[in-house]
């Protein structure tokens, strides 16, 4: 398999855009996480403080009851609790006798499952109980003589405050997330816009316009710096490209002018036709090699570049086939061509003709009388040009490098088949110039070369 041009598919770009979005999302999420952590700490602090306040109230209640108990024991307690219950106390109060009868209080009976613990009128140990969906902080005691006492404070204000706080925090979190996403979206849009400009420039350059530049001044930030760097790179590439083209022209001029003078001097030599004829042929051959090298490097330099126009590949193929078919027939080859009509590609007619001529010339050179030579052109998703012969084919060790410059099979040198190993190298350079895929399909006999051109859109 011969190397294939690796075009960067255009659909890769949205992926990069998604990367920008991911970054913005991650940043918004990080901000939200830190906020949640801070709010959590605050929530715990508030919850502790509010519980502490209810506990202080409970302590005060107990202290008051303790003072009464000091004076007149159960009777005073009973009076005070009955008075408080009468007055509609918000706290929970209950005093019972040893038989389980209610002496006074805000409750009708001892709460189920509540076991009195501890001594005296201290707040510790306190318990939490649940009554009708409300949490209470209660102190349950058995007073000396078997009088159970219950004093409690509702935790409802704490829970209400905490619920309100939770609601507020949830709202705040949603707001932070929304703000983060919005800022992230703005940042992503901005970054994508700046990167999009560079991507658009790269596309224009890849399409062959090396002189394309971004308009306007460069901004004084990293993007501006990146744009400046890209511009500097493009300037260098354009300069190198120009220098290469100039150099090949200069080389051609500096070589052909003296060769021309030599030829003029040869013209003056008389009576040695054979020798001068050979010298002329050698000179012509040297120029051919030279031109091929320059053509190859030019086609490689222009690879992926613009300057291609719609070409009717069918017409070009038919013309070149017409030219070479006669040569093949004269050599005794069995020829056949199957060319689909009106297969259009973007290309350079002369380069394509030269490529096909090289392929046919090559096939004819290696085939023996009786071998077959077939040309086919099929239009489809790609325009596939195929030259197939039943000649000796490529030696196995040459399959990989047959399209390299100056690569020739040893058996050709041995047989005295002339060549410089540039024909197929030029074929590859011209194929790449057209963004075409060049392959050597495995065949039973001979050599098949396939060039698959991309089709113009529409």
């Amino acid at each position: 398999m011969i190397e294939t041009p690796t075009e960067v598919p255009a659909d890769e770009r949205p992926l990069h855009a998604r990367a920008t979005w991911r970054l913005a999302g991650a940043m918004a999420l990080a901000v939200a996480l830190i906020s949640v952590l801070a709010m959590g700490l605050q929530y715990r602090l508030v919850a502790a403080r509010l519980t502490e306040a209810q506990r202080a109230l409970l302590t005060a209640d107990l202290d008051a009851l303790a003072a009464l108990y000091e004076q007149r024991r159960i009777i005073a307690l009973r009076q005070a609790i009955a008075f408080r219950a009468e007055a509609g106390a918000e706290e929970m109060l209950l005093l019972m006798d040893r038989d389980g009868n209610v002496l006074a209080g805000t409750l009708g009976g001892w709460p189920e499952g509540l076991i009195p613990s501890g001594d005296g009128f201290t707040v510790d140990p306190a318990q939490e109980i649940d009554r009708d969906g409300t949490r209470w902080l209660v102190v349950a005691r058995d007073l000396p003589g078997g009088f159970p006492l219950l004093v409690g404070r509702s935790l409802a204000p704490v829970d209400a405050t905490l619920a309100a706080l939770r609601q507020g925090m949830a709202g705040l979190l949603a707001a932070i997330l929304a703000a983060g996403a919005f800022v992230g979206w703005l940042a992503a849009r901005w970054v994508m816009g700046r990167i999009g400009r560079l991507n658009a420039l790269a596309d224009v350059v890849a399409a062959g316009n090396l002189d394309a530049r971004l308009p306007g001044p460069r901004s004084r930030d990293e993007f501006g710096l990146l744009e400046s760097h890209v511009h500097t790179m493009l300037d260098r590439i354009a300069n190198l490209n120009r220098a290469t083209h100039r150099l090949s022209d200069t080389i051609a001029h500096e070589m052909r002018t003296p060769l021309n003078r030599m030829l003029r001097k040869l013209d003056r030599i008389e009576g040695q036709e054979e020798v001068t004829g050979e010298v002329r042929a050698e000179m012509r051959q040297a120029i051919r090699v030279f031109d091929s090298l320059l053509d190859i490097s030019r086609a490689e330099a222009d690879q992926g570049g613009g300057g291609l126009v719609p070409v009717d590949l069918s017409v070009v193929a038919a013309e070149v086939w017409d030219l070479y078919e006669a040569l093949a027939e004269d050599k005794g080859l069995v020829t056949a061509a199957k060319i689909d009509p009106a297969v259009e590609v973007l290309g350079d007619r002369h380069l394509i003709a030269q490529m096909l001529a090289n392929l046919l010339d090559n096939a004819i050179k290696y085939c023996a009388p009786g071998d077959q030579l077939r040309l086919s052109l099929a239009g489809g998703e790609r325009a596939v040009l195929r030259v197939a012969d039943t000649g000796p084919g490529l030696p196995a060790e040459l399959r990989e490098e047959a399209f390299e410059r100056f690569v020739r099979a040893d058996r050709d040198r041995a047989k005295g088949i002339k060549g410089h190993g540039l024909g197929l190298a030029l074929v590859r350079a011209i194929a790449l110039r057209h963004g075409a895929r060049l392959t050597l399909p495995k065949v039973e006999k001979g050599l098949t070369v396939e060039v698959a051109f991309p089709r113009p859109l529409g």
Binding site: D249, A252, H253, M255, R256, T257, L259, N260, R261, M262, L263, R264, D267, R280, M283, R284, Q285, I287, R288, D291, L294, D295, R298, E319, V320, D322, L323, Y324, A326, L327, D330, H350, L351, A353, Q354, A357, D361, I364, K365
Partner: protein
Amino acid sequence: MDRILIIEDDAETAAAVAAVVRALDCAAEHRDTLDAGVAEAAGDYKVIVLDRTLPGGDGVDAIARIRAGGSRALILVLSALGRAAQRVEGLEKGADDYLPKPFEEDELRARLRALLRRGTMQVLDNDLLAFGDLEIRMKARTVHVKRAHVPVSPKEFELITYFARNAGQIVTRMQLLENVWNLHFDPGTNVVDVHVGRLRRKLEDAGSPAIQTARGEGYVFAPLPAAGGAG
């Protein structure tokens, strides 16, 4: 006497071109810079032989200026920039012919003759081209020798009309490849010879030795035994 202007900075090449021009019974005028050449081109010249890498710029880029100066001369670019792409570029920019250096004098002579003739002979629109007993009918695209029809392929018909247009003159293989097949690279093999050979045999079988091999570079279409020699 037709005048030919040579714009060429290499003295030796210019002298060789001038010698070919004089051998064609034309007067040669030489300028060795682009600007002097473009100025002189306004004069009465049939053909301008134009170099490319000249002091003052690229000759091909000056073709538009030469035309703008009122010149009606046919332009033959003679340049060391001889790769196929450069030849095509020259022709696309308005050159009438393009010969790469180093060149054979025969080749230059054949091309100058063709250009000189093109200036005078514009009667090819005639339907019937008759050369003694060889007749070519343009509209019907048929060839007859001694009243007998000679079947030719479309390409062979184009080949024989190109020969007919340059009857009596040497036509080189390179000229045939460029003008009949519109290919501007050197195939390095005898592809053209095969086609000329086939056409030639067909004509000979019909009794017309019209196509002859010329010594050196090409062929001559000389259907009339007495018509030999060129203009």
